[in-house]
Amino acid sequence: MGLTTNSEIVVRTTAEGAAGRAPLLRIQNVAKSFGKNVVLRDISLDVAEGEFLTILGESGSGKTTLLRIIAGFETASAGELWMGEERLDRQPPYRRRVNTVFQSYALFPHLTVEQNVAYGLRVAKRPEAEIVSRVGEALEKVKMSAHAKSKPSRISGGQQQRIALARALVNRPRLLLLDEPLSALDANLRRQMQVELKSLQREVGISFIFVTHDQEEAMVMSDRIALLRSGELEQVATPREIYGRPATAYAAQFIGHTNLLKGEVRGGVVRCGLLTWPAALPDGPALFSLRPENIRLAAGNVATAGRVRVRGTVRHQAFHGATELIRVECGDGMMLVVRTPGSGGPLDAVELEFSPTDAGLVRESPERI
């Protein structure tokens, strides 16, 4: 991984590369406006069979709207949805082989847990014996068999969450949509559910489109992340790719911490404040993302070969347990955030080192409304 490859990052929206199969869902040039308010702009995205795709974005980025368009609760202003040979966006929601887990679960309050899970099979008029066995299986899968006869109001939020999941999965959809399903749970339960949800998805092999604003959640669970910003796709890539080689300044900052270095390239050398390093880039301004964990505290006076070294003063030091975050001022007002495994105590003047290959070129993220 070098600087040159960094500069050639393309937003990869096709799923074939990721899973090596024909896409299950193809989103083509989808746009949506509410009156004058543009919510989604020209979204194209493929979802592979069995893939766990996360749509990540801040509130107002349009992620829920995109999900609702796939489910059929909203109509796209432009663009098409294809599921195999079938034009999905022309179908009403009740004809789509897509099920949704709602943010607030949307369990039917007048039905028992069991009746909630059976709902989809009942309206499809499946034979009663089949309904009973499939509902039983689904409840078992989410470990809720003991609560089959309860009303939703009698069980906890986490349990309601499981029921919502069982109610969707029991219909064996080709695609499951999840709208911030974990956001109502407390932190511990949330982490536990992330793991459970992921392994459940592996087990059933159904494609998941998971909407969240939590970048950590997205990293933990996804095969690929589609980062949405103000109604446009910023980057679509695997968690490792998007973290290791963010395409834009926004992606770099939104997913994990980063140091954004604004530099100037001249004659194959990047100059950024007091820092310089060689780079095979055309002359002109350039923006780099350097992750805090890629900077390390150096000992001795001689720089390691091929590394950039700089002296700085520690301005702030925060202990995070396994690691420490240190803010270092490196002259010229430049502030670098460094993540290091335990420093052993308060620091003052430090020597920092990083490898130029870790400073990835990113595009500016222009302001959008």
């Binding site: 929601p93 009740y94 039917f108 989809g120 309206v123």
Partner: protein, 282 residues
């Protein structure tokens, strides 16, 4: 939290009100129902069940009570049949016209009851709007007599007057249904029809029960519509009570009938409240 004086100041006025204007009159009425009227037209304070016996023995009383209930039942059914679709349409499909249409449903409630009852009189009378029109287009030769001064006229008028009362709680119940439940139902493959019967209607039952109770109780005790439009065949129990307290000067019997109605209405309210509770899930 609050001082004693404050609590007293807040609770006392309603307490006095309820005692003076509700409890005491009811108690008095209850006492009257056991008394009797002497030959010389004075109230005799002799305690017995004669009035209740008469209520059961004399055909006109219990028959009128039954007819009143039958009229009220029909009014209830028609009010629900009209009110429910209206509320459903307003709540789910009226979009930004919702508030306007809601006001249109409410506005008739601001018009005097008497005016609305009289309006039906001018519509249904033998020289009224409807009969004139029917003869004009040669559908009938003579005015239709059954239109006015009949149970039909009473049911029609009461339905018109009490439909908004049935509509309001149904509308409120429908408005309370989280829309994501409807989406969830569609999402799970239910057609709009299935969604209505399996989700929307069951969740609106408390509103239906409340609306039905309003329509039934209010029309059961109505006396103006039968007085103005009922004729001899459309008389209701309240008309009898009114005449017993008035021209007939038999307050004890009037009180006995009133007390029976009160009992009927209260047990109905208790029943409907239980039903509403059973069907509410929030």
């Amino acid at each position: 939290m609050f001082s004693r004086a404050y609590k007293a100041a807040v609770t006392l006025p309603p307490l006095v009100w309820v005692t003076v204007f509700l409890l005491l009159p009811y108690l008095l009425m209850f006492c009257y129902s056991f008394w009797s009227v002497s030959e010389s037209q004075t109230i005799v304070h002799s305690w017995n069940f004669a009035n209740y016996g008469e209520l059961l023995r004399v055909d006109v009383y219990w028959q009128t009570l039954l007819r009143s209930m039958w009229i009220a039942a029909r009014v209830t059914i028609f009010s629900l049949v009209l009110g429910y679709p209206l509320a459903y349409f307003l709540s789910f499909y009226a979009g930004n016209k919702k508030d306007l249409l809601y006001q249109l449903v409410i506005i008739p409630l601001w018009v005097s009851y008497l005016v609305r009852a009289y309006a039906w009189k001018t519509i249904l009378g033998s020289t009224g709007v409807l009969n004139t029109l029917l003869q004009y287009v040669h559908l009938t030769k003579h005015p239709l007599e059954f239109l006015l001064y009949s149970p039909f006229a009473v049911v029609l008028t009461l339905t018109h007057i009490y439909t908004p009362f049935a509509f309001l709680p149904i509308y409120a119940a429908l408005e309370h249904i989280p829309r994501n439940l409807v989406e969830a139902s569609h999402d799970l493959g239910a057609t709009p029809g299935q969604t209505f019967w399996k989700v929307i209607f069951p969740l609106s039952i408390p509103g239906v029960v409340a609306g039905a109770t309003f329509a039934f109780v209010l029309s059961l005790g109505d006396f103006l519509a039968p007085l103005l439009l009922g004729g001899p065949s459309g008389i209701m129990i309240s008309n009898i009570v009114v005449s017993l307290f008035g021209a007939a000067y038999n307050w004890p019997l009037g009180a006995a009938i009133s007390f029976c109605m009160l009992l009927l209405v209260v047990s109905l309210l208790v029943f409907s409240e239980r039903l509403e509770k059973k069907w509410s899930f929030s």
